[in-house]
Amino acid sequence: MTDDAKRGSEIGRPDPWHTLRSLTAARIGLGRAGGSLPTRPLLEFQLAHARARDAVLHELDAAALAQSLTSPSDDIFQLHSAAGDRAAFIARPDCGRILDDTSRKLLEKRTAAITPYDCAFIVADGLSACAIEHHAAGLLAAIFEKLAGDDWRLAPLSIVRQGRVAIGDEIGALLQARMTVLLIGERPGLSAPDSLGIYLTYDPLPGRSNAERNCISNIREPGGLSYARGAHKLAYLMRESRRRHLSGIDLKEQAAALDDAGSAENA
């Protein structure tokens, strides 16, 4: 290496304390070019942001997803929110929380179940369709395996495009389900563009607040909460919700007391 080339590579080296990154995922010890960010960490950041943006804008391939999923029954409802496209979904959260007319009529047309369902499972793209495409099939398989021993009467699965968390309330009410379990893509972060969240809501009705739900977040493999662990937590919450006829803050406190290992991750 020439002297000039050597000097060029010395500018912008990580700081001596970059080894402390074993203590945190924060971007510490990045080094400096003058006082500015060196080229390598600059481009690493740009890559993480690019992946997050691509994940936000990615459209869910709902037909392919339906093929890949384990489902409680043969029919799967393909639904769409009142947000017509991705841009409307981002600008109008209220539209992402209700079904479009076609989807509502599809569910209304259904003959009411003779006995109400115990639970309706719903898969929604949310802010990361990538999370759903990467993890929904694996997670659902783990969940249904976990529930197999129990006596659960499950509604047909719903897949929703351009959907937000609260859209599960309308779907659950139309399907006359005692509770909904909604799998949704979480807002992409720089560390992961494909984290999946689960929301459990007892007695779903339009107008429920987030305080009335339980959330299990950051599910992804590898790097986040595993499918098996997510399914374990959910099965526990579902049983308790059915037994105590509630979800949300009251259930969370109980769950935290019984399962201290899970409380921090549920927060």
């Binding site: 001596p16 945190t24 924060a26 990045l30 500015s36 950041f45 997050a52 600008a91 209220d94």
Partner: protein
């Protein structure tokens, strides 16, 4: 309320009342569109701005956008209005007020003197007819100095909040980010942690951690754990070493109720913190955060546009002589502020806060579902530096791994100091020089293997707990 009419050419534009006029005059904003109160087209917006420019400033003393009887921020604003301070601008329209602000003769002393005579709605109104360069120029003239363990807001200074968050509040993880920030010359505004939970014992533990670091290394700065005001009060009652009391606030009583906050609660907390007498050069003990869209998000906006509601939050903040206020401008998401709207909103928030006499910082930030990127943040950062922003955030590599959003990095602060010859708070500048971290307040010294600050990751906080 009376209707406002403005005729442009052959067309008359009618605005039902003062809040409709303000909303229609407000520069385009996703949150106002979401609320259905924005101008329906570009011409209507400018017609509203023209009507607003002709409105006497006095109008805002006679008409409230949120009813006096229904809202304690309106009552605070009207009851504490300083008529004498208002005197020099009492005869002006909103449009003439803009001209007065820009005049050479209107300098720092005049601007400081008029502040108690201005209501939040007057500041919001004039900002709506100002361009970015107007707001940058006027904000630059204003000086707001506050003190606790150092002196913030002096002309020619740029301070920085060190924000060493960690998703599980791991003490060593926090310490690693903390020392990184200090070794990049940041942390003079405050070392402030957003804890992962509101758990009281954890909040107390983090207060001790920061107090120990500040004492051990004799750092002329202050600490804050950004938790709910009631949790901080409990921590103080249990003897925690609290420097600053933090609270998020919004522009209506109902917004603050949704945050679980009242004015009397804030007064009580401020008195408790002052009684601890932990400041060495001053006793500004409050730290507030705000952000456009919070009132709409809480469904407590009373049909008022989000920028006016934001300035009303500043009206509340100034009653408590805070050390720091900042607008977390891009955090709320693209349904309230999207893409380039974040840039103008950041400039508006800084200008309006300064005009009301507040030590304004801005969290120059965005989330991944907003149509924004690092170039947009550089634009806002540079503009705010030119406008004389009191402080910005410092997050390792601009990536907050706890709150999952992108803010400004330590490198961003160094960039702005170098570009515009801005220095940290003088006490902190001396400390950085003595520690061979930054020379002349501007230039980063070469990184060394064995800096004594590296020992702070070894500090065992548990030993110091009562």
């Amino acid at each position: 309320m009376p209707e406002f009419v403005h005729t442009v050419g052959a067309r008359s534009h009618r605005f039902a009342d003062l809040k409709a006029l303000l909303a229609k005059a407000s520069p385009a904003r996703a949150g106002d569109r979401l609320a259905g109160i924005a101008a329906s087209n570009a011409e209507e917006r400018v017609a509203a701005q023209m009507a607003l420019a002709e409105l006497p400033l006095k109008t805002f003393l006679d008409q409230s956008v949120v009813d006096y009887d229904a809202d304690d921020i309106t009552r605070l604003s009207i009851d504490s209005h300083d008529t004498a301070a208002f005197g020099p601008v009492a005869h002006l329209t909103v449009g003439d007020f803009r001209n007065w602000l820009l005049a050479y003769e209107t300098e720092a002393a005049e601007l400081a003197a008029v502040a108690p005579g201005l209501t939040p709605e007057m500041a919001a109104a004039v900002s709506k007819i100002m361009r970015i360069q107007d707001m940058v120029l006027v904000a630059r003239k204003i000086s707001v100095v506050t003190r606790f363990r150092n002196t913030l807001g002096l002309p020619g200074c740029l301070s920085n909040r060190l924000q060493p968050n960690h998703p599980t509040d791991d003490v060593k993880g926090i310490a690693a980010s903390l020392l990184d920030g200090l070794l990049y010359g940041c942390g003079d505004a405050v070392i402030g942690i957003n804890p992962a939970t509101d758990n009281l014992q954890q909040v107390i533990r983090l207060n001790h951690l920061l107090a120990d670091v500040i004492a051990t290394y004799a750092i002329p700065t202050q600490s804050c754990i950004l938790t709910h005001v009631t949790t901080t009060m409990q921590a103080m009652a249990q003897g925690a070493p609290v420097d600053l009391v933090f609270q998020s606030i919004g522009g209506s009583e109902a917004t603050n109720r949704s945050f679980g906050v009242t004015q009397s609660m804030l007064s009580e907390a401020a008195a408790m913190a002052r009684a601890l007498q932990r400041g060495s050069v001053g006793d500004n003990v409050m730290y507030f955060e705000t952000g456009q869209g919070s009132a709409l998000s809480a469904n407590a906006y009373h049909g008022v546009d989000q920028q006016t509601m934001e300035v009303r939050a500043y009206g509340l903040a100034r009653a408590f002589s805070p050390l720091l206020v900042n607008s977390v401008v891009g955090f709320i998401g693209p349904e309230y502020l999207n893409g380039r709207e974040i840039i103008r909103a950041g400039i508006e928030d800084h200008f309006c806060g300064k005009l009301l006499g507040l030590p304004m910082g801005v969290d120059i930030c965005y989330t991944n579902h907003a149509d924004a990127d690092q170039d947009d943040m550089d634009t806002l950062l540079t503009l705010l530096g030119a406008a004389g922003v009191t402080y910005i955030m410092g997050v390792p590599g601009a990536d907050d791994i706890m709150l999952n959003y992108q803010s400004t990095s330590f490198h961003d602060a160094l960039y702005l100091r170098q570009l515009l010859n801005l220095k940290p708070a003088p006490e902190f500048e001396d400390w950085l020089a003595a520690g061979c971290i930054v020379s002349n307040g501007i230039t980063l010294q070469p990184a060394v293997e064995n800096h004594r600050l590296l020992q702070l990751v070894e500090m065992d906080n548990n030993e110091t707990l009562p």
